[in-house]
Symmetry: C2
Subunit: 113 residues, 2 copies
DNA sequence: AAAGATACATAAGATTCCAATGCATTAGAC
DNA sequence: GTCTAATGCATTGGAATCTTATGTATCTTT
């Protein structure tokens, strides 16, 4: 199952922040591959969605960047700022809470039937 | 906690379909109030979001409508069509699956390890 | 009789994502 | 050794979806 794109909307920023919290620093392409791998291809973050999101996070001061070269190939590493770290906690908590509410709304019995 | 609007995006259609599945038929205003009540004010569906969504569902043949009058006040009742019922199951399953995936993603402590 | 709740609806704008495209480097296949 | 696929950055036009604001009208409560 590949999730319809509308479901991804609104969660992308939180996913990116959480990955950065767990991994200290990552570059864009790495993020797309990690998400694909972790979700067994169910969530495919396109570059057209990711890069604008990363740039917004940077403009908002939630992440800092370091440009590094692996040979001649540039990699732009992103790391959480202090503000980004607290924002990550907020966003993750909000999403967890939201999912509980949705679960109740949809009367979904997960795991144990 | 009131969820940021971006979280609601993409789930509205599924919420509406599920409510119609549970309640046989409902009218627009009733849906906004029911969601507000069920989520203890955490999710507020605005009419500007709901009515276009309902109209799309109708155009797609997922719901049928009956206009009724309570005195002189019109109420437009929405009911799931056969197609709407199977779509509801699909959408609810997809959202449940998505939430499990998100839960896993957000629980990750370290990238490798 | 005024105000708030009920009930429908639309329109302009913002946000956010997708699909497509472009450029460049590196690794692997043949 | 050359060609293709993968890696890595990025932008653009367009589509979809929601928000805010507005409009009309009825019913209920004070």
């Amino acid at each position: 199952m590949i999730y319809s794109s509308e479901l991804i909307k609104g969660t992308l920023k939180t996913i990116v922040l959480k990955l950065l919290e767990d991994n200290n620093r990552m570059y864009g392409y790495e993020i797309t591959q990690r998400v694909k791998e972790l979700t067994k291809d169910r969530i495919q973050i396109t570059e057209g969605a990711l890069y604008p999101t990363l740039h917004v996070l940077e403009q908002d001061g939630l992440v800092t960047t370091e440009l590094e070269y692996n040979g001649k190939r540039a990699r732009k590493y992103y790391s959480l700022s202090a503000e980004g770290k607290s924002m990550t906690k907020e966003k993750v908590n909000e999403l967890a809470d939201f999912m509980e509410t949705m679960k109740f709304l949809l009367d979904i019995k997960t795991g144990i039937a």
